[in-house]
């Protein structure tokens, strides 16, 4: 391996190293503060490392990895997401678990898995990344051992994830059996070579789709989402909603492009149906939901549906839309979960609708942030979510997916209902003098930063748009 290779994979390597050191740190002395600081530092360094990259993009590390602008951009996104989750975690765990340190190790490892996914161009690296992430997620989800809901969630996630990866693997095996190669580009060439792909390959794709769909939490592989979000510690829920879904989505895009999946109308239709189902099921489930965690889970299902519409639109507009929406979605989700995390106290999480009554008059700033996040999810102007939705619709219109768009309109109206209901609860006048609880600096700082970002993207998105465009064009 040349130094360039190492340079290209620097973020991953850094995080791996960090995790090892972290273990040693724990072995030496348990200290939450130190541990937290160290992990934060690791993430920051990894982020900085992004700027020291070989010039000749895309940089191929045969056969497993390719590092291109696309990968880099998303690496940045994932790292940033991880970082903000970290900032939100400290206080959350400080007031709960007595053994907090391993959490950070697991978080590092999961992130490593995610990063691997982002730049993998081969079944093996795909599998490795996926499993690294999943297995550390089992631990993370079940981290709060004292809370029974936590390990119920853990076991559920474990079994279902294993199930889905079994499907994924079997699918891969089928494809491999026909194509004789496991890297995406190779498969793409093989498919080009033959005019009509054999049923095994298409079926293989179908099975892989199950694995992917599970991680994305799209219908009908969505059922785990609410339980896991509810059971998992809030930062972890945020992490699953953003990092794991995001990296999987990126992988899907890369794979789909390499094997030029847009040529297969069957797959297109499968995705279209899944998109419709996800939108409707997600929104319907969320409609009357009183548990905010579950509500966010369901809403994320429907948002995946929206993203799929952009994904189906294809072309550059579609891809850009997916990326932009993903960014907006990541910011918003972390923000929303972050607010929940800050509001939670040592005994139980702030998750029921009642916990938010009159929040605006108790914690104006937090409530404002949460409102902004919810409005962004609902796609109301001045927020990134609006531009994202606009981008998606634009992509859809440009490739004339009128049916899907009509459904999208219907669904955003349904969605609006429960987002607004939540907002309304926060603005309800509350009787009695409000008891203000001190908020941790880091958390508030992270959330404020996220909100500023949200509004900035909502009002002046040109910079990000330009970035994404340039990245997409570089991919060709």
């Amino acid at each position: 391996m040349s130094t360039n290779d190492l340079l290209a994979l620097l973020p991953i390597i850094l995080l791996c190293g960090a995790s090892v050191i972290a273990m040693l740190l724990v072995a030496v002395k348990r200290n939450h503060r130190v541990m937290h600081a160290f992990t934060v530092a690791a993430f920051i360094i990894a982020l900085l490392a992004l700027f020291r990259q070989p010039d000749n993009m895309p940089y191929l590390i045969a056969p497993l990895f390719v590092v291109d602008k696309f990968a880099l951009f998303n690496t940045g996104l994932i790292l940033a997401a991880g970082l903000s989750v970290l900032l939100l975690s400290y206080n959350y765990f400080e007031q709960r678990e007595e053994r907090k340190e391993e959490y950070y190790i697991l978080l590092l490892l999961a992130t490593v898995g995610g990063l691997v996914l982002l730049s993998s161009r081969h079944f093996i690296s795909l599998f490795l990344g996926l499993e690294t992430m999943s297995i550390s997620l089992y631990g993370l989800i079940a981290y709060l051992r004292t809370r029974e809901r936590s390990d119920e969630a853990g076991i559920k996630y474990l079994l279902l994830a294993a199930l889905s990866s079994a499907f994924l693997l079997f699918g891969m095996a089928l494809v491999y059996a026909e194509a004789g190669t496991m890297d995406f580009v190779g498969i793409g060439q093989y498919l080009k070579g033959i005019n009509e792909p054999p049923v095994a390959v298409v079926a293989g794709f179908g099975l892989m789709l199950i694995g992917v769909g599970f991680k994305l939490g799209i219908v009908p592989f969505h059922m785990w989402a609410p339980d896991i979000y509810e059971g998992a510690p809030l930062p972890v829920a945020a992490y699953i909603a953003t990092v794991s879904k995001g990296s999987m989505l990126v992988l899907l895009m890369r794979f789909y492009r390499d094997v030029n999946g847009y040529d297969y109308t069957i797959l297109w239709w499968v995705f279209a149906i899944i998109a419709m189902a996800s939108m409707f099921v997600g929104n319907w489930l969320a409609l009357m939901q009183r548990n905010v965690k579950r509500l966010l889970a369901y809403s994320s299902i429907s948002h995946m549906g929206y993203i799929l519409i952009a994904f189906l639109a294809g072309q550059e507009a579609g891809q850009e839309a997916v990326m932009f929406y993903l960014v907006a979605y990541v910011i918003t989700s972390i923000g929303a979960f972050g607010v929940l995390a800050l509001l939670s106290d040592s005994i139980n999480d702030a998750e029921m609708l009642e916990d938010f009554t009159g929040l605006f008059w108790r914690q104006p700033w937090l409530a404002a942030i949460f409102t902004a996040m919810l409005l962004s999810l609902a796609g109301i102007p001045l927020t990134a979510g609006f531009i994202g939705k606009f981008y998606v619709v634009a992509a859809g219109v440009s490739s004339g997916l009128w049916l899907l768009l009509a459904l999208l309109v219907v669904n955003s109206v349904i969605g609006l209902f429960y987002y607004i209901r939540l907002v309304a609860v926060m603005f309800q006048p509350l009787e009695g003098v409000p008891v203000r609880k001190r908020l941790p600096f880091f958390g508030v700082f992270a959330l404020s930063a996220l909100m500023v970002l949200l509004l900035w993207l909502g009002i002046y998105p040109s910079v990000l748009i330009a970035m994404i465009r340039d990245m997409m064009l570089s991919m060709g």
Binding site: F390, V397, S398, A424, Y460, S462, R469
Partner: protein, 492 residues
């Protein structure tokens, strides 16, 4: 630049008001009032001064242009012609009054209240000025949230339900409009290669008949809901009834007008063919709205609800006139937008004044109030007469022009609409009878209008009479802003 001021004044003022609440709870209303008056003076100043030479061929008095999202060809471009000028004047006029209305009514959380109030007004001003379709949609949506808060936090009984209903309806319509805007964007791009949201560019978009019609319907969806036209009107009674007085005033006086404005500014010029094709149906829709709204208005026992339904009826005239395609009707529509804003706004204020005294909106619980409140009664009489279209008051000019114009397009629809005048008489007189005449249930010992109430009601009286006797100033101003398509008599 001056145009930007109209939008920025309220928006900045909004934040100022919010901040000032920290200093003293009564400070926000002063801030708000000053901001509104400043805007009003500015707008009035523009109106008074002689019309400048039209800029760039079109009849724009001022234009402002600034790129925003080049990727989509979105730019922050504002322009003002006679129509938008009138609407801006109306916006700040009613805005200032809305502040006065809330003076005593709103006691808690004044800072946030006036923040929302000014924000709505800023959004509305934006809608009336923007010349970029994306931006139009942007402001169109921006208005909703603060309006939602106004209704949802400071409203009456079923405020949450009403606010939510309002929000969902408008949002649904708005999204359909978004689809159409984008459709237009891509159609234009495909045919000319220029991808832009600029109104001026999109005006000459060549498109197939079918496409044009679908896109037009998308736009109409938003505007019909906002107008509101039968059968999309059911959000309005709830919203108007539950909103605080100022909210009702702004809803009836300004928000509904954005729908009418949208039709005049966008639908007619962008889709002449489709507008002609569907014209008769929309006119019919309007006529039905007039009668249906009138019938429901008569059936109500809640003062504000009654007035709300009269809005449905009156905005029906707008729809009838907008699709009659001749100058008479067009001028009538503009006139109707202004006069309805004033007269209905006034009626809601009166409802508020009564509510402050009686703590009820139930007509059955009122009656015989003339003895106690002769002054208020006289003013109410003026606006009741205005709402039934008594000559000498602004609404008559509007309705006469609309009917005379629409008669030339479709006589039978004009006849239907004219029957609305009788219905209007029926429900309007019912207000007077139930509130001021008839038996006094209990001997009210109420003080007549306070100075503040007089200050906020008299300008409206003067305005409505002025519009009734000297409408020419308005008509001249609006004439330049008229979309040329609005004058093409359809060749039958």
């Amino acid at each position: 630049m001056i145009l930007l001021a109209f939008i920025l004044f309220p928006l900045i003022g909004a934040f100022l008001a919010w901040a000032s609440a920290a200093v003293h709870t009564s400070l926000p209303r002063w801030v708000a009032l000053l901001v509104m008056l400043a805007g009003l003076i500015l707008a009035a100043g523009i109106w008074i001064q002689p019309e400048p030479a039209s800029i760039a061929g079109a009849d724009w008095r001022y234009v402002y242009h600034q790129p925003w999202m080049p990727r989509f060809g979105i730019s922050l471009s504002l322009a003002m012609d006679g129509l938008s000028l009138l609407m801006i004047v109306l916006t700040f006029f009613l805005g200032a009054l809305a502040v006065l209305v809330s003076w005593d009514e709103i006691q808690d959380r004044t800072g946030f209240y006036f923040f929302n109030l000014l924000f709505v007004l800023g959004g509305i001003a934006g809608v009336f000025l923007v010349m970029d379709l994306f931006l139009f949609y942007f402001f169109w949506e921006v208005m909703l949230i603060p309006m939602y808060f106004l209704i949802g936090i400071w409203g009456h009984g079923h405020r949450l339900y009403a606010a939510l209903k309002f929000f969902l309806f408008t949002q649904a319509g708005g999204l359909l409009m978004l689809l159409s805007i984008l459709g237009l964007y891509f159609v234009h791009g495909a045919s000319t290669g220029v991808y832009t949201f600029s109104y001026a560019e999109l005006l000459q978009t060549p498109m197939a008949q079918g496409t044009g019609r679908w896109l037009m319907l998308g736009f109409m969806a938003a505007f019909l809901v906002k107008l509101p036209a039968f059968p999309f009107h059911t959000w309005l009674p709830d919203a108007h009834t539950e909103a605080p007085t100022a909210g009702s005033v702004i809803l009836a006086g300004l928000l509904l007008k954005t729908g009418a404005y949208g039709i005049l500014r966008f639908v007619l010029p962008l889709f002449p063919e489709a507008s002609h094709a569907f014209g008769e149906w929309f006119m019919l829709m309007g006529a039905i709205g007039i009668l249906y709204g009138g019938q429901l208005a008569y059936a109500q026992t809640d003062f504000k609800r009654l007035v709300a339904y009269t809005s449905v009826s009156h905005m029906g005239f707008v729809l009838v006139g907008a699709f009659a395609f001749n100058e008479l009707a067009y001028q009538g529509v503009v006139m109707q937008m202004i006069t309805h804003g004033i007269s209905t706004g006034a009626l809601f204020m009166i409802a508020g004044v009564l509510y402050e005294r009686l703590h009820t909106r139930e007509l059955e619980k009122m009656g015989g109030l003339w003895a106690a409140l002769p002054g208020l009664g006289t003013i109410t009489m003026v606006f009741v007469m205005a709402s039934l279209g008594l000559p000498g008051l602004g609404n008559f000019i509007a309705e006469f022009l609309i009917l005379a114009g629409s008669w030339q397009a479709y006589p039978w629809i004009a006849v239907l609409a004219a029957i609305g005048l009788v219905v209007a008489t029926v429900y309007s007189l019912r207000i007077m009878q139930k509130v001021f005449f008839g038996m006094t249930l209990r001997e009210f010992k109420l003080k007549d209008m306070s100075l503040r109430e007089a200050v906020m009601l008299l300008p409206l009286v003067i305005a409505i009479i002025w519009l009734g006797l000297f409408p020419q100033r308005v008509i001249d101003t609006a004439a330049k802003g008229a979309p040329s398509v609005a004058f093409q008599h359809k060749d039958k």
